[in-house]
């Protein structure tokens, strides 16, 4: 039998007091992105590449040495400057595949462009067995949140 899959979708929204161009830059520029898109305390990057263009790939891999590793692999499909980013990505935790998702980021200017509303929507296939396996590898001591946080 193949592993059971959970399908789900959710959105997260934020309003930032800066123009869309600055928010967009935080996704487009590898140095800026590395400042906010990373794992929890104790996590260090082992591979970090970002080829930010349609068809381009991103890898953000890292580890808490001696404990666990994580790997995020993405492909960018739609990039509209200062407006829209759509990418698909696979998440691994200690080499166990946890999910395959599509992330859509939409930027909307507010206050005549002085502020930005960001809406992130994720639609994914989540592998419940992957989650369980990954938890097993952590000898059952790791919480779900830590597990997912460990991926990034």
């Amino acid at each position: 039998m193949s592993e059971p899959i959970t399908h789900a979708s959710f959105s997260v929204e934020r309003t930032y007091p800066v123009p869309p161009a600055r928010v967009f830059a935080a996704f487009a520029d590898p140095d800026l992105k590395a400042q906010w898109f990373h794992g929890p305390d104790g996590w260090t990057a082992t591979t970090r590449t970002l080829d930010f263009r349609e068809g381009g790939h991103e890898v953000a891999a890292g580890e808490v040495p001696g404990e666990w590793s994580s790997r995020f692999e993405a492909t960018y499909h739609v990039i509209e400057t200062d407006a829209q980013i759509v990418y698909s990505y696979v998440m691994y935790h200690s080499d166990v595949r946890l999910s395959v998702s599509v992330a859509t980021l939409e930027l909307e200017p507010l206050d005549g462009g002085a502020a930005t509303r960001l809406v992130m929507t994720e639609q994914g296939a989540y592998f419940a067995d992957g989650e369980a396996q990954a938890k097993d590898r952590e000898t059952g001591t790791i919480g779900l949140l830590e597990l997912v946080a460990g991926v990034l």
Partner: protein, 116 residues
């Protein structure tokens, strides 16, 4: 199990039924009241929820009572909540970065998308 739970939760009527049940156990006819639905339709929704491990039912006499199964609900929510919280954390960190007075520029020559 998780798969079933999310499938069960994908329907707005079933989510409404669960919300109602969070206030306490109810009979099938009580559950049917707020909806323009037949008892049979409600029973079907309850069966889906029960198969997913989200609710338990018990028939006493002629009345079937439905109640939340907290363990099932927690399992279903935990996985997605965790993923959502991860995004919340990332976007909060992004907010901190954007709150800095000007784009931090270790490469001052060309901030990538400034166009003005």
């Amino acid at each position: 199990m998780l798969d079933h739970a999310f499938q069960a939760l994908s329907d707005p009527t079933r989510r409404a039924v669960l919300e109602r049940l969070c206030a306490g156990p109810a009979s099938v006819s009580e559950l049917a009241e707020p909806f323009a639905m037949t008892l049979a339709a409600v029973v079907q929704h309850v069966q889906v929820l029960e198969a997913a491990g989200l609710v338990r039912t018990q028939k006493i006499g002629r009345v079937r009572t439905v109640q939340i199964d907290p363990a099932g609900l927690r399992a279903a929510e935990a996985w997605l909540s965790a993923r959502r919280i991860l995004w919340e954390q990332h976007l909060d960190r992004l907010g901190d970065l954007l709150a800095e007075p000007s784009p931090p520029s270790p490469t001052p020559a060309s901030p990538p998308t400034e166009k003005e």
